[in-house]
């Protein structure tokens, strides 16, 4: 195996940011953060900051793109110009096109698209601050925003990357671990059904390491999924409380 360019593990076996090998960074999720969007989510994941807005199902224009038997999902994953080390041009790069496509395909699998013929569900994601693992964080945020928009779903998509650092498989790579480590492996899935909707890797892995990575990722996704569920429930609890308040006022 090749060496890491810089030493990514401390003497005590912890990672540069003090995490254990299989530890996820702190995550916060908040839905309904935007007034204009039908659904929205603001998610922080370590130093990643991601905003997602969902519109739809709504009529698709131009009409010749519409599918008579189902809605289509359009996803735009973008990096803010200031979210990365070197200022990015506002025009999307090939990486952003690729990830938009993969995120769209992942979300497809949990949506009842046949319920909305000729329609579109539009998912706009902007990474405001990037620190590794943005596509997994984006998928996690998008699921919350879709639920927030009241769009019926078969389940949530939840993501978490794993990777290889100093010859060890670790969970949830940071930017520097991604860049200077030996490999990155983003995974996303419908945790409830075990259906994996996104799997990529680049780097150098043995097949055994890939298998270990998969199983670590699924465990981590389980943790994230719990938070995601709570974030969505929190909104309904809030609404219920508001309704309760309303009831009280009416009395």
């Amino acid at each position: 195996m090749t060496q890491d360019k810089i030493s990514l593990l401390l003497d005590d076996g912890r990672r540069l940011d003090g995490r254990e090998l299989h530890e996820i960074r702190p995550i916060t999720m908040k839905s309904s953060v935007l007034d204009r969007a039908d659904g929205s989510c603001y998610l922080t994941w370590g130093n990643n900051k991601i905003i997602c807005a969902v519109y739809g199902p709504r009529e698709l224009h131009p009409k010749h793109l519409a599918k008579p038997d189902r809605a289509i999902v359009r996803v735009e994953y973008r990096l803010a110009t200031f979210s990365v080390n070197e200022r990015k041009s506002p025009a999307p790069r090939r990486r952003e096109y690729e990830l938009s496509k993969l995120i769209k395909e992942s979300l497809d699998s949990v949506l009842f698209l046949e319920k909305f013929p000729n329609g579109t569900i539009d998912v706009y994601i902007t990474v405001l601050d990037a620190d590794g693992g943005t596509r997994c964080a984006a998928l996690t945020a998008a699921s919350i925003a879709l639920a927030d928009a009241g769009i019926p779903m078969k389940g949530f998509i939840t993501g978490c990357a794993v990777g290889k650092v100093a010859d060890k498989m670790v969970v949830d790579l940071s930017d520097v671990e991604d860049k200077d480590g030996q490999g990155d492996m983003p995974v996303a899935m419908n945790y409830n059904t075990g259906e994996i909707t996104l799997l990529q890797c680049d780097g150098e892995f043995t097949t055994d390491e890939v298998k270990e990575g998969l199983s670590l990722a699924i465990r981590a996704i389980g943790e994230v999924y719990k938070m995601q569920k709570e974030a969505v429930l929190a909104k309904y609890t809030q609404i219920e409380e508001s309704i309760d308040d309303l009831g009280e006022e009416e009395e």
């Binding site: 905003i51 807005a53 200031f82 902007t126 601050d129 620190d131």
Partner: protein, 284 residues
Amino acid sequence: MRSEAIVGVLEKQYVTKLLEKGKRSDGRNLLDCRPIQIIPNVIKKAEGSAMVKWGDTVILAGVKAQLGTPFPDTPNDGVITVNAEISPISSPTNESGPPGPRAVELARVVDRGIRESKIIPMKDPKLCVIPGKKVWILFIDVYILDDGGNLFDAAALGAMAALANTRLKRVVIDEDLEEVTLLDEKEPLPRKGSVASLTFAKIKDTIVYDPNLLEDRGKDARFSLAITDKGIVCSMQKGESGVFTEEEFVTLLDQSSSLVTPLLEKIEESSQFPEMNEMYHFDF
């Protein structure tokens, strides 16, 4: 007529009728400003940043700095450039793609406010590192995240607050080789004063300050002006198909100095905490 168009007409009738009675749809007086919150240094990867919540409008401004060559006609000046992204995130009617005329106008008006105010001394040796060869290029990008009306003032405030919180890497110059080294240590961007924007909307015969979304959509004309802490008008922009009279402009100019003060104060406040601070975070 499409349903949105009808909604637009009804909305405008509603706003206009209220204003004829001297009332605004959100209960404010004609020259009242909505509550404003500036949250500085929210973006770790940016050299400076600020989120602005202005009423229910939300924008995020970030500054990235890069060493580059100056423009041939201003070899001793650093470079500043403003770009605005009216993201589809901010409203169901916005489309993605390259900036349209609305975003271009917004960016250019914010740009002129900052540039013409001369509050960033572009010839300062901290910005003009090697005259004619290497200067700092400051990219200010403003993302509109939630369009609740009055994007001009919110964007200008965000850009200004982001600059007020910008810190550049220290530069060591090797004069012989004409090469520079960037240190990890950072120091604040030089700045002389500050500037803020005031936007008025005219709806039929009434002029309101800080239009909310209903007023923004229903307005006949818009007038924005940027004023420095020295009381200097450094940029004006009348927009939209409606008209103003000379008297109306004179009145707005007279009202401007009292309206700009609280904005300038907010900018200074926000720049008191220049370090990245975990306490600061988005709170939608």
